[in-house]
């Protein structure tokens, strides 16, 4: 039996130990918002927050999540309303088919937190000066493939939701 919290609710479920977190969500818990695009950590569609950090849920065993806290796209709403990042994705048309979108949004929410915390990326030159530039967002969001090609709009949505405080004058 695996006990964990999913979107704020306590969940207990016993599954085949081979079951990934993604398959448990989709096939056992009817939380189909998290998507399976490749099942091998190569597309990012399955991205969820595990203890607050983004992971590919297709490469996590459900049984290993005992005692942990999972947030999926279904948990990012603000009550009955869409959350800020979800609203920004709609207004910037940051998706087309929508299949990669839940993973993009989970990644985007995590990106803001990581930048705020001062986590570096491959394009961070100066540790004392990590800001939400377009290039930073592009690099940090490159783990989520969008085959429809909404990347420009995804960057716009993340920049807007991040707000002026996380950006610099230098932001392109």
């Amino acid at each position: 039996m695996t006990s964990l919290t999913i979107n704020g609710k306590a969940v207990e479920l016993e599954v085949d130990p081979r079951t990934t977190l993604l398959d448990a969500l989709r096939e056992h818990l009817k939380l189909t918002g998290s998507k399976k695009g490749c099942d091998h950590g190569q597309c990012g569609a399955c991205t969820v927050l595990l203890d607050g950090e983004r992971v590919n849920s297709c490469l996590v065993l459900f049984a290993g999540c005992d005692g942990q806290d999972v947030t999926t796209i279904e948990g990012l709403k603000d009550g009955d309303e869409l959350g800020a990042m979800q609203r920004a994705f709609v207004s910037h048309d940051a998706f087309q088919c929508g299949y990669c979108t839940p993973g993009q949004i989970c990644s985007a929410v995590a990106t803001l937190k990581e930048v705020e915390r001062g986590d570096a990326s491959a394009v961070t030159a100066d540790d004392g000066d990590i800001h939400l530039t377009r290039l930073e967002v592009q690099e940090r969001m490159s783990g989520n493939i969008c085959r429809c090609g909404a990347y420009n709009n995804i960057v716009d949505a993340v920049m807007e939701t991040g707000g002026a405080a996380l950006q610099t004058e230098a932001a392109e």
């Binding site: 081979r18 990012g44 992971v55 570096a120 491959a122």
Partner: protein, 330 residues
Amino acid sequence: MKPIEYIRPDSADAALDAIRAENAKFIGGGTNLLDLMKLEVETPDALVDVHRLDMGGFSDTDGNGLRIGAEVTNTTLANNSRVRKDYRVLSEALLSGATVQLRNRATTGGNFLQRTRCYYFMDTTRPCNKREPGSGCAALNGPSRIHAILGTSAHCIATHPSDMAVAMAALDAKIHTRKADGASRTVAATELHRLPGDTPQIDTVLEDGELIEAVTLPAPLGGTHLYRKVRDRSSYAFALVSAAIVLRIADGKIETTRLALGGVAHKPWRAEKAEARLAGQAPTEENFQAAAEAELADARAEGSHAFKIELAKRTIVAALREAADRENAA
């Protein structure tokens, strides 16, 4: 994926005990092992989950080095303030690899032990001496863009895909393990992985059930740190060729060079010949070129990866040039 028994021990001792189960394997972040288990390339009967074991995290060593617990994630390691300051090449290598999602999950120990991305290794319907000893090597005469140019054998031309391990090799990191019988030992990062020879199925010198508990980095080398990764897309791609460099120049002469290459061999490739060629020399384009030529003198590639020989030379020169420019500007 075969039916498995899943065990999550609460200590390293318990993990070493559990690993004695028939055909058991440790699982860290699982980002590579689960990937391969779904393909039935890896077929353990039991998984011993060490992902959330506390193996000590970070601490300073007596000699002003840094100890890193094997459970530390790639994200945490890349962002550690001492790593960013004193071992920058390691941070850059980590951040150039995979994605935030994967780095959040992947561990220091597991990163060393990830397996090759060779197409034929990952496809159980094709011959592969690494996956099925004696079945042959389908890469030798097939499409081979990602394959090895140094230290290959007639049995295997697979590469090790890690970026982190390349930086660790350049930094002369040491890996601390415990065997299933509890005995501890220390292995140099440069000696952890092996060349394929006629036993390509053996990736590393570790024994079955041997657990990586920690890695230590020696006292900081100073100088300029740089990781140059050349790949087929701007992010989220394995290295075609990479170079981890630590360069220190004093009075116009190269005082220290540490150079390791990724994407070129069955192991992170410490470029000792290039280092020797550069020792005490002036940081000139000619010397960089000569060092690259020396290192790649024995490179061999017959297939579609032959371009990597030239690319490796160019990458070495470009990385040395950039490091020297920065070092001179500092």
